[in-house]
Symmetry: D2
């Protein structure tokens, strides 16, 4: 893990500290530029809205992708097969081995876009908590990533899921907490009482 921005002088988050920071040596807090913003949160926590607000307030153009982009890119049959991804009636999302293979290549590709010079916002749902984050960490390597946790009280997220009307009911509740287990962040925002734009401005203030 080579993330100078996560070291002491740069940290602005009360979230769990990067457990690998001892590997980082002396932090360099100067001219590093954020190349990727990774938003992690449960369904209906407000990640996509924050991503769009970030695109609007950041001076440079940023590309925004999400796990929904990946699911949309998969064969229709993968969305209901045991090997792919399954949305259980209670909103639980079950991911199979073939999903993992495609996801790994997807993550490598998104990292390659950032290496090629695009600023990239990723909107993710770490169903596996820390294990999910590690998959991204390995792919992003030396890239300067701002890791952002997007929280929302479970009951509020569940109500917003109903208001949206385009999600399997139950996903918000089943994901609200598990996606943050063991995950470290540079910054956390909470949409329970804050607007997407407000959260986006908080995040944008951390971008270099």
């Amino acid at each position: 893990m080579l993330r100078p921005r996560s070291s002491g002088c740069c940290r602005r988050s009360g979230a769990r500290r990067n457990p690998f920071s001892f590997l980082l040596g002396r932090p360099y807090c100067g001219a590093v530029m954020t190349q990727m913003i990774l938003l992690n949160g449960g369904s209906s926590s407000g990640k996509s809205g924050i991503a769009r607000c970030l695109q609007a307030v950041l001076p440079d153009p940023w590309l925004a992708f999400g796990v929904d982009t990946l699911i949309q890119a998969m064969p229709a049959s993968m969305r209901t097969s045991d090997a792919g991804i399954e949305f259980a009636p209670d909103g639980e999302v079950i991911v199979g081995p073939e999903f993992r293979v495609l996801e790994a290549a997807w993550i490598d590709g998104i990292a390659a876009m950032a290496r090629a010079g695009a600023h990239v916002i990723v909107d993710e749902v770490f169903l596996g908590g820390a294990a999910s984050q590690q998959r991204w960490q390995q792919a992003v390597g030396e890239l300067h990533v701002l890791w952002v946790g997007v929280r929302c009280e479970s009951a509020i997220a569940a109500a917003r899921e109903i208001a949206r009307g385009d999600r399997v009911p139950g996903m918000a509740v089943s994901q609200a907490d598990v996606v943050h287990r063991g995950v470290f962040y540079d910054l956390e925002v909470d949409t329970t009482h804050s607007e997407s734009m407000e959260c986006a401005r908080t995040i944008a203030a951390q971008i270099k």
Copy 2:
């Protein structure tokens, strides 16, 4: 105007009083059943979310239609012609004579659905303020309609418009106030600091 529910003993709103209530005679506040809920508010004020929450919390099934349903039903050419509807670059919506003809028939049809026994939620944008409301009043006649104003502070609605990402920027601001001019309500809700579900529960409590 035959709206027993708007008369004194029934009113629960601080909004402008129905100016035609003197025509109503003695109010009957007993067994009348709400047949239609009409939500009026500017773009991105949160009407659709409230409508979906109402559908979730009300015990009977309610149909939900909006001005978007009508626009979607129109020929593509109507969406950019002077005679139809035009979305100006600054978000202003300009409506032409052919739009008005189709809209009048649409309103009659929605009222007919309610008369035929369906519970109907309508999600509207009264671009003409009081004049728009009168078009609905004439069509709904004796039906028991709950008129609901959906407010949202202009700046917040504009930020939510950006977060949604699927609207012409500027609509939220240009509509926030004008749609309420001269309009009377049985009830008003404000989404600036309240969730859609919370507003829906407030409205549902007024349904008979």
Copy 3:
């Protein structure tokens, strides 16, 4: 059934004859204006595309609604409940009693729009064959409706269902034939080897 346009001198279809035409008396084939075009066909037979092409080629503006508009207007819970509508894994669509109640009001409302002066195209799936058509006939009464059957070979419709990617696989096959059982038409088109626009022009030529 008062449908002058279905009588001898006007018929241009080889489809099953209107069984109620003996009630019509002497046909009047002069100045009657088509007020509604009802397209009936299975899923992925191409109805919506034909409807949009009709809107483009007909000189007056026509509103286009479909059974999808109704389903979209229903509460989310109705889309998966026994009382509402259910999409079985094999593509079969099962409709419950509460769906029927709302559908009846919807049909009355669409007929009211046509009576109020709007030209209306309806894109329907007569899951109940002749019984479904009778529900529409009772509602439209004296309106001048052009009944159009939209056919498509089952295998071709199934392949287009895959190409569209937004439908439950199997609907095209399970509906291809049953929706036409016992239904009479003024005109039939077949999209197996004809483009939507071509079919629309054939239909438009029958509009008065």
Copy 4:
């Protein structure tokens, strides 16, 4: 250009020959596996439908991305700015310098997904003809790409654009020919008289 599959013994297309094939040396037509299928054609030529059919008929899971995925990932402001992408009223698409920068990174990322082991279908519109293809060639390098031209008669594509109803009218006509200028293919399909599934099967037969 290292594309063994384009050399003599493998070519199955009457399309323009790869002008760089002299660089390829002796072709190896044995065990190479297709890693990417690149479909190029004008708007409404049927590329997305073919991509979904390919996903359905190919035995392995393939990811499908298109230029629409990229446009969707861009900031909303890029979709109407001179620096980004602009959809002129006549359907012409004008692309600015900032679009090109993000597009280059996107192409690198998609190539990286294929290198990481994902099978990838790309659905593209080579607005710049041969110059657009060269951008992809440089990025894909040694990957085994099947270059597929998707043709459709201009008038038919324009009619399908109307039937779809979700595209800026005029794109189909303005793109039908220019996107193929100077582009070489391994295979060409024509959707004018062929179904998406039929074209997909033709393409799938060339996949190793």
